[in-house]
């Protein structure tokens, strides 16, 4: 499937991720968590940190291993494939990227704790039902020394378990990224279980007192940091969704090879063959796109925005195709909770919405082309 040439390091990471997750953190583990009503899977964090994954994109100076986004993509693809619940994307990628890009004391304080798994940091940016990070009603106001944060954020993934939140807000016309303690007075958060059995919170900030030092970045710097953070998050989310889609597709290929109907293997039906082959082609090309987007992040290429957004947009469509075809080709059994396909379908849906769906990013590409 993968047309890409991986380096030895990368291949090593992909293999060890697959092995680690298969052994004890696979879909059976996900089902057990769900039965137990446990949506944080806090046990895994230490293990991820120990392997260096929580610091995968952080430089060594910030306690990380600095292997970069392509490596992180190989890990997260396996997390997607195994439906593993973890704060990898929110804390290691989104918060990790934000802190590393912003630099300064806050980064020195918090990035190493992310890498060791001693802290989980989540990004609070959405305010409406659709991802529109550029529209911010949350404000930082007041004079220096008496600053307050006010606003309402939704769909804060891992917001319910985070030790700190990076909150997007406006200070006058300036964008601010504020590092906020969710235990602070004036913060109220409502954790919610999502359809994919992940944790997300709605968080309300009412005149929360903050210090200048809590402002991670402001103005043009904040714009840069946020853009970098979102680009990284999108490519990584696409890679996770790719893992989900590949797992769904592989279960479907297997089913077609073994299930009999009308006296023949259903994989002998040409219409299913052609649709499956089309799905295969789509998965193959979106794999290349996602890999290119991650490589662009590592190289700091000028194409980062275009490629990461295209990857997120395209993956949303291919993910839907993979999970819908999976359910349809399995027939009734695919609709049961006993099979994994429904779990893939729900996770795929949530990942589509997370950090912007196909429409949102396609719109950006159209704008970029001047139309």
């Amino acid at each position: 499937m993968r047309m890409e040439l991986l380096s030895e390091d990368q291949q090593l990471i992909a293999d060890s991720a697959a092995g680690f997750l298969r052994d004890g953190h696979g879909i059976a583990a996900f089902r057990a968590l769900r039965e137990a009503g446990e949506d944080a899977n806090s046990a895994i964090l230490g293990e991820l940190a120990e392997m260096g994954w929580m610091g995968i994109v952080l430089p060594e100076a910030l306690g990380g291993v600095g292997l970069g986004y392509r490596a992180a993509g190989l890990i997260v693809e396996e997390l997607g494939r195994h439906l593993t619940v973890s704060p990898f994307v929110s804390s290691a990628i989104l918060a990790g990227t934000a802190l590393a890009s912003a630099g300064g004391d806050m980064a020195q304080n918090w990035a190493p704790r992310i890498a060791t798994g001693d802290a989980v940091v989540a990004l609070a940016m959405d305010e409406a039902v659709k991802h529109r990070p550029e529209r911010i009603a949350t404000t930082v106001s007041g004079a220096s020394g008496a600053l307050t944060l006010t606003g309402r954020k939704t769909f804060v993934v891992d917001g319910g378990i985070a030790d700190r939140l990076i909150v997007t807000a406006k200070r006058g016309d300036d964008l601010c990224l504020v590092l906020c303690d969710p235990q602070a007075a004036g913060v109220s958060r409502t954790p919610q279980v999502m359809l994919d059995h992940r944790n997300a919170a709605t968080v309300i900030f009412e005149d929360v007192a903050i210090a200048e030092a809590d402002i991670l970045a402001q103005g043009a710097t904040a714009e840069d940091v946020l853009a970098k953070t979102l680009a990284a998050g999108r490519a990584i989310a696409a890679a996770e969704q790719l893992g989900v889609a590949k797992a769904a597709a592989e279960q479907t290929y297997d089913y077609l090879r073994t299930r009999k109907q009308f006296g023949v293997l259903i994989g002998q039906f040409q219409s299913l063959q052609h649709r499956t082959a089309d799905l295969y082609c789509e998965l193959a090309q979106v794999s290349s796109l996602i890999a290119s987007a991650l490589n662009a992040l590592d190289e700091g290429s000028a194409e980062v925005e275009t490629l990461t957004r295209a990857a997120k947009a395209k993956m949303a469509r291919v993910g839907r195709q993979a999970t819908e075809e999976g359910v349809q080709m399995h027939g009734g059994i695919g609709m049961t909770d006993e099979m994994d396909l429904g779990l893939f379908m729900k996770r795929d849906r949530a990942l589509t919405e997370f950090l912007g769906d196909a429409g949102y990013h396609t719109e950006w590409i159209l704008r970029q082309r001047g139309i």
Partner: protein
């Protein structure tokens, strides 16, 4: 014109007899399914069923002799319109009305019709359908459940799957292989029996939406008296095919009991808002919605025209597969658009603000539309062979 008289009389009767509580929008839990185990949600629900059943209007098209209304095609249309006018809820819904009834009317003995049909019309007996089996899926003719002839009855042993509400039903109509020496298609009979019979057990199947509308159903040497066969021995496949046609029409027709037909355009507008040009502030979603709306208008006119065609006495035959295919594929798109418009709000499971995640549940549920009652692939194969006459 006579039909105008019928309309005014119907209007007056409905005005007088339809309880106010039965004129409000109906949720899934408000459906009256009838049956021995059914608990009415309100006195009004019970009263509405009784007055409608007394007029035969729970099954307006059936002959009066069997508890029906004996209405002509045009009269049925008027009744539907007048009920819609005051938002009257359907007094009763059931697989007995949708499926067993038509089968009995076509293939049942006079005695069977007089016995079973009025029970259905009055909502006394709730039926379920025993067709699919594990390992058979779309290949109905390959079913294995056997009914051994022991003289005065058949002894039925086997397993069914996807039995809708089997745990809530009173009786089952069931395909059973009674002629083991016959070929696949000609060895099957159509049996009716009580779900309280010894040897029957059910086990709900949990779906990805969290709901369990279907069951696995097990038969262990269930005794079925021989007069509870519909049609002749070995005629079960013929009856099943006839019934599948009805089921396809019903699923294709996609009435509100099956598909939540919410106003997605309005939902999207309230969730997402408009931009400076007065358009939905999500151009790509809007474009997808536009294509859907055109297709919805198109399908609605087709359904309407098909209804007129059938009321004029024509049979749809294999073309029922066309409605089933188009209607279910359209509903899948409808539900996908609905959750897309709902965005992250509709990702919350069991949320207080989003009607307990109803949109997401309807979306997940809709994925079964193109599987149940014959998959889209089976529908297309039927059409290519029976209608387009493409080679086998």
């Amino acid at each position: 014109m006579e039909i105008d008289t019928f309309r005014s009389e119907t209007r007056a009767w409905l005005e007088a007899n339809c309880p106010a509580d039965m004129r409000t929008p109906m949720g899934e839990d408000d459906i009256c399914w009838g049956g021995r185990k059914f608990v009415f949600r309100s006195p009004a629900q019970k009263q509405w069923l009784e007055v409608m059943a007394a007029k035969g209007w729970t099954v307006p098209a059936w002959p009066k002799a069997y508890g029906g209304g004996g209405l002509s095609g045009d009269e049925q249309k008027v009744l539907t319109e007048e009920m819609q006018r005051i938002n009257a809820r359907p007094p009763l819904q059931s697989f007995g009305i949708w499926m067993l009834g038509p089968a009995l009317l076509q293939f049942g003995s006079e005695e069977q019709k007089r016995h079973y049909l009025p029970q259905i019309a009055r909502g006394e007996i709730r039926w379920c359908q025993g067709y699919s089996e594990p390992g058979a899926g779309s290949d109905l003719a390959g079913l294995q459940t056997k009914g051994v002839d022991t003289g005065d009855h058949f002894e039925v042993t086997g397993q069914k799957i996807w039995t809708s509400y089997a745990d809530k039903a009173d009786w089952i109509f069931c395909l059973v292989r009674t002629e083991p020496d016959e070929k696949k298609h000609t060895g099957i009979s159509f049996l009716l029996f009580d779900m309280d019979s010894a040897g029957v057990s059910t086990k709900p199947i949990k779906l990805i939406s969290g709901a369990s509308p279907f069951c696995e159903t097990f038969f262990d040497a269930v005794k079925v008296p021989k007069d509870q066969i519909v049609g002749a021995r070995g005629q079960g496949w013929t009856i099943a095919k006839y019934l599948l046609t009805h089921e396809r029409e019903m699923i294709g027709a996609a009435d509100s009991a099956l598909f939540a037909k919410s106003d997605i355009a309005a939902d999207a507008m309230s969730a997402i808002g408009l931009d400076d040009t007065g358009r939905l502030d999500d151009p790509m979603l809007r474009a997808e919605l536009g294509q859907f709306l055109v297709d919805e208008i198109c399908f609605d006119t087709h359904l309407d025209m098909t209804g007129t065609y059938m009321r004029a006495g024509h049979e749809l035959g294999a073309r029922s597969a066309e409605l089933k295919y188009l209607g279910t594929e359209l509903n899948k798109r409808r539900q996908s658009l609905r959750v897309a418009a709902g965005g992250s709000d509709d990702l919350v499971w069991e949320g207080a603000a989003n009607d307990a995640g109803q949109a997401a549940k309807d979306w997940l549920r809709s994925k079964a539309n193109s599987i149940e009652g014959g998959t889209s692939e089976v529908m297309l194969s039927i059409l290519s062979k029976a209608v387009l006459k493409l080679p086998g």
